[in-house]
């Protein structure tokens, strides 16, 4: 009973601590806006942003733009995740493949996403394909690198056990390397989807006529700062939802890798 109480109290304290910083910032922001410390053209009051958010969602415009962006993220991310795990596995399991692709990876990986966008528009046009490609590249790298790292850091002691039991290479791959790499691959997926989310907004700001990134960009051109902030808030909010969702999924599927 007693431990349950302290556990509950600890939980409540944890929640309070984690929301403290955002709350303080919003309160300061409200004071700054109402006290006239900042111009509302640069930073509208939280109240204005909230009501803009409300009217955007009521008119359905926000949902339309959000769903377009989310669909783009899903399309690009699924491709990036599949590509990253497959190519990462090949690179981790085969020294030859690793040599062939290793240099390419080192050259291409440091290229920032924004630099890809003009190239991809040249190649694939201004339509959906170039956006999918941008998101693909953005989510591909973290998945690739974490897959390789996960497979390569398989405990050699467990591999020794499998060798002593005369297991075939295919058994080693499916029953030892890959399960052991799963937590790391999952971390790659989480990083990948947040990178995908960053990329879609970037791509939409540069070349698009729909989506949340376009909405923000357009609002800025029309000098509607409240809309800009409402859009930015939505991006952050969806980002945290996706990450928490994936984390919960990871804890459920890979419960063995968490110490209780």
């Amino acid at each position: 009973m007693n431990t349950k109480n302290t556990n509950n109290r600890k939980k409540i304290t944890d929640i309070l601590l984690s929301v403290a910083a955002p709350v303080v910032i919003v309160v300061l922001w409200a004071f700054a806006a109402s006290g006239g410390l900042v111009r509302t053209a640069i930073l509208p009051a939280p109240k204005t942003v909230a009501s803009t958010l409300w009217s955007l969602s009521e008119s359905g415009k926000l949902w339309r733009d959000m769903s377009i962006s989310i669909l783009r993220v899903l399309r690009g991310f699924v491709c990036g995740a599949i590509g990253g795990t497959l190519i990462g596995s090949c690179m981790a399991f085969s020294k030859t493949v690793n040599r062939i692709l290793g240099t390419m990876v080192s050259i291409l990986r440091p290229i920032p996403m924004l630099a890809w966008i003009p190239i991809l528009i040249l190649w694939l046009g201004i339509g959906e394909n170039s956006k999918t490609a941008v998101i693909f590249i953005g989510s591909f790298w973290p998945v690739l690198l974490n897959t390789i790292h996960g497979i390569q850091s398989t405990d050699p002691k467990l591999l020794e056990v499998a060798r002593i039991l005369e297991k075939k290479r295919s058994v080693l791959i499916w029953k030892v390397y890959l399960p052991s790499a799963l937590p790391s691959i999952f971390t790659g997926l989480r990083l990948g989807i947040s990178s995908a989310w960053t990329c879609v907004v970037g791509a939409e700001m540069i070349a698009a006529t729909s989506g949340i990134g376009y909405m923000i960009h357009y609002a800025r051109e029309l000098a509607q700062p409240a809309r800009v902030y409402a859009g930015v808030f939505c991006i952050g909010f969806v980002g945290i939802l996706i990450d928490k969702g994936l984390l919960a999924l990871q804890k459920r599927l890979l419960s063995w890798s968490y110490t209780e």
């Binding site: 060798r163 002593i164 039991l165 005369e166 029953k175 890979l254 063995w256 890798s257 110490t259």
Partner: protein
């Protein structure tokens, strides 16, 4: 008298490791014949190469010189007729107790037989009721039981035990020694145990091989003929114990006055 049959032959085996430009001699001229069904212990101070010897027997590491043969066949790579239990249980953390033991089966067996083998070995090591538990939910002793079951489920002819109870607390260790003794009497397997626990060696073995510190050489082969289960505080037991202790202490550090320990 039943016919003695040599199962494992270690013939003039030496092992040297290359370190930078020099070589480090770990084992020197080890010769040993182990009979089928015999319980052998290899004792020695840490770093005397006793674990290296096991690694060579199982075929993970080739000897620099000499030959190791199991049933007349030279060991070149790991084979399932030889099982091994390590100091750490080395269980797959993502598999349940059941699945970990099932992983031990390498021979092709039918689904029903598979099921039966796994169940039989879970009961053999006294883990019935824990089939669905994950390794992290088990105590150290229970994890080691799973690892023993995994090594036995393949029906190896020889079971190698590399300090299997070194990481367990004293009471659990004595418990596990009793369990292994029962397993040995029940399964009639050849067992080779590497340990630095002298009591453990005297309690379990038919023969104890005493290795000197690096480079490891055989100092003595001591037959233990006491009837089992052995009384750990009997005079005979203590006599053998102090004999081995003397070997190891004199060898470890000449300047130590060993009488103060005896």
């Amino acid at each position: 008298m039943e016919q003695k049959q040599i199962q494992l032959t270690i013939q003039n085996v030496s092992k040297k490791f290359r370190i930078d430009k020099g070589t480090l001699s770990v084992l020197e001229d080890i010769s040993l014949e182990i009979e089928k069904g015999e319980f052998i212990s290899i004792v020695g101070t840490s770093g005397c190469g006793k674990s290296t010897l096991l690694k060579m027997i199982i075929g993970l590491d080739p000897p620099t010189e000499g030959h190791i043969r199991i049933d007349g066949r030279e060991v070149v790579k790991p084979a399932i007729d030889c099982g091994m239990v390590f100091q750490e249980a080395r269980l797959f953390p993502w598999l349940t107790v059941r699945e970990n033991i099932e992983f031990g089966i390498t021979r092709p067996v039918s689904g029903g037989e598979r099921e039966r083998l796994v169940r039989q070995h879970i009961e053999l090591v006294g883990l019935a009721g824990f089939e669905k538990a994950l390794p992290k939910q088990l105590s150290g002793g229970m994890q080691q039981r799973v690892s023993i079951a995994r090594a036995l489920v393949n029906h190896p002819d020889i079971l190698l035990l590399d300090e299997p109870f070194g990481a367990l607390d004293a009471l659990t260790r004595i418990n596990m020694q009793n369990e292994v003794l029962k397993l040995w009497e029940h399964e009639k397997k050849t067992m080779v145990l590497v340990t630095h626990d002298i009591d453990e060696a005297v309690f379990l073995s038919d023969r104890i091989i005493v290795l000197s510190s690096r480079p490891g050489q055989i100092m003595d082969k001591i037959e233990v003929t006491l009837p089992r289960p052995r009384e750990r505080s009997s005079d005979e037991f203590l006599k053998i114990r102090s004999k081995i202790f003397k070997y190891l202490m004199t060898n470890a550090d000449e300047s130590v006055n060993i009488d103060q320990y005896l």
